[in-house]
């Protein structure tokens, strides 16, 4: 075990122990009922274990202090501006958290008879209807646990629908700007991926689509606005091309936060759509989940939606498990219900008018940043942006300063960096999505930091290249982590020892 390193000026221990290193044999705060007799005698000895080797033994205060200190080593929306592109890091309202913890939502069992869950089912039904209205689609399934599972479900629907018509087909068209999950989901669904390039204006041409579309194309997957923050203005024509050959249009709704009240996917010729409730509908990202990725479809795909299907019979809600054309189950029970409760609460809070206002202000904030930065950073595509804008490091690169350096230097200024090096088609991309919940003062602070870094890149490039200087740890050796993976604690295993 390594000695905790000390900040020599403040004498503060800056490096927390792992739980296991603070453990002390016999220490514990929780008291259990004394009963139980010899429970171990009720299970055959061959199926019993010894004590869990290495497991922590700590008091409650130590545990709390440990995790509180860990939390202080995170950036988060409530402490920092977090303009992470394509992630929609908007404010996560507190009311959502309060409601999701109501015992009537948190303390209910999924296999209780539906008659005991009518309030929960009414909420789910209501959310399906609201998401259909917002997206302009006809039917919604709330089952998928996350955007990527929504995508997979959407592709399965497409495959089942086409197979029913005689041929599931072989190929999915995916633009080069797509999220990596699009091609990964396609493969998992048994499809071959055909990649197409965006044009000089950062969008897809219908003619480019027409060139690769034949009777073996099952669908095109489009993100709109795309990951360059641009509206795919040819989408109606693209849909016509693909539909003309009997294929379908899948819309990756990751960027739906740009569209509410501005354009509905259901009107663009889209057949299948997934939405990320943890983006557009304000549910917390939780450091990487849980999210929720509902799938919406138009009428012709309804019968293929996953089970269980929620149906209203008179005043009662029932769950239909038996749907012969359905793709089946994609997860246990009814989706990430706690996340769905938060999204429902958010939509109710904002209302139709508030959702429209949210998208409008998201566009205002993104365009404002774009305009204020465009003289100091190279804009990737000189087109009007939607909810996010993409810059590159081309100007700073002349002084040896890269996108990674700029991102790390932003940490010293107290801002979470934008998404970097994505989309892959833009060299050294910096993808900035401010969201609508930020004030212009916050945006100005961020812009000033970016402008200061642009100056530093010219005058003092090494200051930027060696950043961050003020974070709990400095740049980490990722190559070492991958070369000799240490994926768990074991006594005497710490990488810092060697």
């Amino acid at each position: 075990m390594s000695e905790p390193s000390q900040d020599r000026k403040s004498r503060r221990v800056t490096e927390p122990n792992l739980l296991f290193e603070s453990s002390s044999p016999g220490r514990n705060s929780i008291v259990w009922p004394a009963e139980a007799g010899d429970a171990a005698a009720l299970i055959p000895p061959a199926l019993l274990r010894d004590d869990i080797a290495g497991f922590p033994e700590l008091g409650e205060l130590e545990v709390l202090r440990h995790f509180t200190r860990l939390s202080q080593r995170n950036f988060a929306i409530e402490s920092q501006f977090y303009p992470l592109g394509s992630c929609t890091m908007k404010y996560n309202p507190k009311i959502n958290e309060v409601v999701a913890r109501f015992p009537g939502f948190a303390e209910i069992h999924p296999l209780a008879p539906p008659g005991m869950l009518q309030g929960a089912l009414a909420l789910l039904h209501g959310l399906e209807i609201m998401l259909a209205e917002i997206s302009g689609m006809e039917y919604v399934s709330l089952q998928p646990s996350a955007g990527a599972q929504g995508e997979l479900t959407g592709l399965m629907l497409i495959r089942a629908y086409l197979a029913d018509r005689g041929n599931p087909r072989r190929k999915i068209i995916v633009p080069d700007t797509a999220h990596g999950t699009n091609p990964a989901s396609s493969t998992l669904c048994g499809y071959e991926v055909i990649q197409i390039s965006s044009n000089d204006h950062g969008v897809i041409d219908a003619t480019a689509v027409a060139r690769v579309t034949d009777e073996e194309v099952a669908a095109i997957m489009i993100t709109n606005p795309n990951t360059l923050g641009l509206f795919e203005s040819n989408i109606e024509a693209i849909a016509e091309v693909v539909h003309g050959k009997g294929g379908l249009v899948y819309l990756d709704g990751a960027n739906l936060n740009a569209l509410m009240g501005i354009a509905k996917p259901g009107h663009m010729g889209v057949d299948v759509l997934h939405m990320n409730l943890h983006k557009t509908f304000s549910t917390p990202h939780g450091g990487g989940g849980p999210g929720a990725g509902p799938v919406a479809v138009n009428g012709q795909l309804r019968d293929y939606l996953p089970v269980p299907r929620l149906v209203k019979q008179g005043d009662r809600f029932e769950l239909l498990e038996d749907a012969p054309k359905s793709v089946g189950r994609v997860r246990s029970y009814f989706g990430n219900f706690g996340v769905l409760v938060r999204a429902y609460t958010y939509i109710l809070s904002l209302g139709g008018d508030g959702l429209e206002q949210a998208s409008r202000m998201a566009l205002l904030n993104a365009n404002y940043i774009r305009r204020r930065l465009e003289k100091s950073y190279q804009i990737a595509f000189d087109e009007p942006c939607m909810h996010e804008c993409i810059f590159t490091d081309r100007i700073q690169h002349k002084n040896g300063v890269s996108t990674l350096d700029i991102a790390k230097r932003l940490l010293d200024y107290g801002y979470h960096p934008p998404t970097i090096y994505f989309p892959l088609v833009v060299s050294g991309a910096l993808m900035i999505e401010p969201t609508e919940t930020e004030t212009p003062e916050t945006l100005d602070g961020f812009v000033d930091a970016m402008l200061a870094i642009a100056r530093e890149a010219k005058e003092e490039p090494e200051l930027v290249q060696q950043a961050p200087h003020s974070t709990p740890v400095r740049r980490l050796d990722e190559a070492r982590a991958a070369r000799k993976p240490v994926l768990r604690w074991e006594r005497g295993s710490s990488a810092a020892d060697s």
């Binding site: 739980l19 199926l47 609201m130 302009g136 989940g289 029970y333 990430n336 710490s494």
Partner: protein, 448 residues
């Protein structure tokens, strides 16, 4: 409510900077045919008070575990959760951060996930754990896909125990449906309630890819994995242990000690409320030699440029954002906040707490089962050892359940919806949350 802070003066100033006359001017390039039909036809926004009241009204229509005596398990369990768990995961530094792509300012989440991975390894007896997946069902499906990456193309028969959770079996079927090389086959259960080992042995051959067995299984039965592992090893098939009640590992020999290849399951039991079945998380562990085939996020230890210990997401070359169509999985979340809840929970429970709570579950479930048989005249169905769930048969279950409901009791889960062969049978679950008086009431009510 409005979470957009812009005043009219703000908007005016910003539009001026942008050089556009109005907000509408920001999206004039969106085709008019779309814009003019885009209005959202939903009621206007509400006050926070009104929202809270509406949601409270919906919540009140659900039967909660506090008001009812629920003897329900089946993959989702009501266990005691120390207050400190929610206090920690409610900290906005954890809940409102994103996937730790910038490790210098994500050490909190990264270290917690590293600790999570360690705890899961210790609990399951496995060598490597990822940073969690969606749920137990998709974890089982991902395990099958992982076995497919490891095993040669000649091995594509997947043998699934019929005593595995029906939802998990359904999700596996959904995931492999479009992989035409994979064949799913079901192995029956026997009178013990465990997988029929003779049938399994007979079906295993040189085309078998993997075997999936519940541990404990859907009927609560603790199957002896030793003979199953031997049979798998002889045939060259991988063994995947699937668990929806990992609390049992406080007492039971963990899957790693049976040398299973992959151990997966649902983590809800470990500090996450029932939430109507989600969100919780799926745990995913395997032998070290398979680490480069594992799906999902992995956190690894390393050092920073000053030599200090730190943590990063690692082995990302398996993942979709780099490998795209060649990725090991399309997953890009780790249900992190739920995995964090489990990390805090397990830290508080500690070595002795995990054993004690498992013992209380075993003791109460055994007592309840014995009394329901003796005093309420229900019949046992399976003979195998069990953890905190058991199957009973009764005449006229409709009447039993109706009478129980009048006393605000749900005795269990009816099984015929998934197992036509188990008509008149139900699966009952007793945990440390079901106090002795509650068990008394259950027995009295059913006995009539």
């Amino acid at each position: 409510m409005r979470y957009t802070p812009h005043t009219p003066a703000d908007q005016e100033r910003m539009l001026k900077t942008i050089g556009v006359a109005s907000i509408d001017g920001l999206f004039e390039h969106v085709p008019k045919s779309l814009r003019e039909r885009a209005k959202i036809n939903l009621p206007d926004g509400l006050t926070e008070l009104a929202v809270r009241q509406q949601l409270a009204a919906l919540a009140s229509q659900n039967a909660t575990a506090g008001d009812w005596s629920l003897f329900l398990g089946g993959g989702v369990y009501r266990h005691f959760i120390p207050s400190a768990v929610d206090a920690m995961i409610s900290r906005s530094e954890f809940s409102t951060s994103y996937t730790p792509y910038q490790p210098e300012v994500s050490q909190g989440t990264l270290q917690a996930l590293f600790e999570y991975q360690t705890l899961i390894c210790q609990l399951t007896g496995m060598e490597v754990s990822n940073a969690a997946v969606y749920d137990g069902a998709s974890a089982a499906a991902e395990a099958v896909l992982m076995a497919r990456r490891i095993q040669p193309t000649g091995r594509r028969r997947v043998l699934v125990s019929r005593a595995l959770h029906p939802h998990y079996r359904a999700v596996i079927a959904t995931y492999v449906k479009n992989l035409i090389d994979v064949r799913l086959e079901e192995i029956p259960f026997d009178g013990t309630g465990g997988t029929d080992i003779a049938a399994l042995t007979e079906r295993l051959d040189d085309q078998s890819m993997c075997v999936l067995v519940g541990y404990p299984n859907f009927f609560g039965i603790v199957e002896d994995l030793a003979p199953i592992k031997s049979a798998c090893a002889r045939a060259g098939a991988q063994l995947i242990a699937v668990t929806s009640e990992p609390l049992a590992f406080g007492l039971l020999k963990p899957p790693g000690e049976f040398a299973v290849d992959i151990a997966v399951g649902e983590g809800q039991s470990l500090g996450v409320p029932m939430n109507l079945g989600g969100p919780a998380f799926g745990f995913f562990a395997c032998q070290k030699k398979f680490v480069r085939n594992i799906p999902g996020r992995l956190v690894g230890e390393t050092v920073d440029s000053d030599g200090r210990r730190g943590f990063v997401l690692t082995l990302a070359t398996r993942e979709q954002h780099i490998r795209r169509e060649k990725a090991t999985s399309n997953i890009c979340t780790s249900q992190t906040l739920c995995a964090l809840a489990a990390t805090v929970y397990l830290s508080l429970m500690g070595k002795s707490g995990m054993r004690r709570v498992a013992e209380v579950n075993v003791a109460r479930a055994h007592e309840a089962k014995a009394r329901l048989i003796e005093q309420a005249k229900l019949e046992p169905v399976f003979s195998g050892p069990f953890f905190n769930e058991f199957v009973l048969r009764g005449n006229d279950l409709n009447q039993v359940f109706t009478r129980s409901a009048k006393s605000k009791i749900v005795p269990g889960i009816r099984l015929e919806q998934w197992y036509p062969e188990l008509t008149d049978c139900f699966l009952s679950c007793v945990t440390e949350m079901n106090e002795r008086q509650e068990i008394d009431r259950l027995v009295r009510t059913i006995a009539g």
